[in-house]
């Protein structure tokens, strides 16, 4: 009954719309559009590689890392400054004994869940990015 009503309404709406004529633009419409077009040709949007992290950012990061290591070394080394006035650089003061202990926190279940969650995240990310890029261009 509802479908029959819907069908009747659909036919009626079609008839109503078909009874009217489409609107017509003024004769100079196309000329006006053509006059408004930018002088340069179509923007083809050629993909240009642009790194996410610029060279400048890499250099600054590098300097920060080197300075941090030097500061760390100067704090952990007892010797005085060398010939050039720089603090002696060495990693002897850093102890890595704590690293193996970290692994004792993990067990197989944690690793399994992590791998599963990461895979899930990866698949979702691919799906989301794919949809996002497709949306930009039909």
């Amino acid at each position: 009954m509802a479908n029959k009503e819907e069908y009747k309404l659909d036919n009626f709406a079609r008839k109503v719309f078909k009874a009217t004529t489409p609107e017509h633009v003024r004769p100079d419409f196309t000329k006006n559009v053509m006059d408004q077009l930018p002088k340069s040709s179509v923007n083809q949007e050629v993909f240009q590689y642009k790194p996410l992290i610029s060279t400048q950012a890499w250099i600054i990061s590098g300097i920060v890392v080197v300075l941090s290591l030097m500061l760390l070394a100067s704090l952990t080394h007892d010797d005085g400054p060398n010939l050039f006035g720089f603090p002696n650089f060495g990693l002897s003061g850093i102890h890595f004994n704590w690293i193996p202990k970290l692994f004792t926190l993990f067990n197989y279940q944690v690793v399994e869940i992590s791998v599963f969650m990461f895979t899930l995240y990866f698949i979702l990310e691919v799906f989301v990015l794919n949809t996002w890029f497709k949306k930009g261009s039909i």
Partner: protein, 193 residues
């Protein structure tokens, strides 16, 4: 009008022959304008928005990958442009109550419309279409004028297929209610005969 496919002209425009864009404008101008006027409800503003839509289409033609029909893309740009225009001018439209539809007979309405002179019928129908909210007016126009599939409409309006069905259903009912209100006197007269 040339019967070559849209892609032929798109390729030529991208290669630098921008004058070929005129062929595409001529091909779609009336429907783009009709869609704009149904949404914006004002002739001058609709023409302005339609022109602007074509300029945007031209500017971003390189973005068109050809995975969907060119017409779908044209209507999508037009729809979004009209929405932006309405939003920018903060226009509001009266929401109709779909429940008013309850006790109405399509046959009566159909008879009343048939009895009218063509010009008067056209004018009354247009008044009712113009009273629809912009989204419904756009959707119904695309569906009934152009026989666009619901899937294509969902792509143009960027909404789900089920949402298109719901909006189409509501739009049809709203149109019927508006026509019923507009033709109330004619329906009564027909009943009196």
């Amino acid at each position: 009008m040339s019967s070559r496919p849209d892609q032929y002209y798109i390729d030529r425009i991208i290669q630098g022959d921008t004058q070929q864009f005129g062929v595409l404008v001529n091909r779609y101008k009336n429907l783009v304008f009709t869609l704009a006027i149904r949404m914006i409800k004002n002739r001058e503003e609709a023409e302005e928005v339609a022109q602007d839509s074509f300029v945007k289409i031209f500017t971003h033609l390189g973005k068109f990958k050809g995975t969907a029909k060119f017409s779908t893309w044209v209507y999508k740009v037009t729809y979004n442009n009209c929405l932006d225009f309405i939003k920018a001018r903060k226009r509001t439209f009266t929401e109709l109550n779909v429940n008013d539809y309850e006790d109405f007979q399509i046959a009566d309405l159909d008879n009343a419309l048939t009895q009218l002179e063509e010009a008067e019928r056209n004018s009354k129908i247009l008044d009712c279409i113009n009273a629809l909210n912009p989204e419904e007016a756009f959707l119904l126009t695309l569906h009934y004028y152009e026989d666009h599939s619901l899937k294509e409409i969902s792509s143009v309006m960027d909404i789900s297929l089920s949402n298109v069905k719901v909006k189409l259903h509501r739009g049809r009912k709203h149109l019927a209610v508006l026509l019923q209100n507009n033709l109330a006197n004619d329906i009564k007269l027909n009943h009196g005969k």
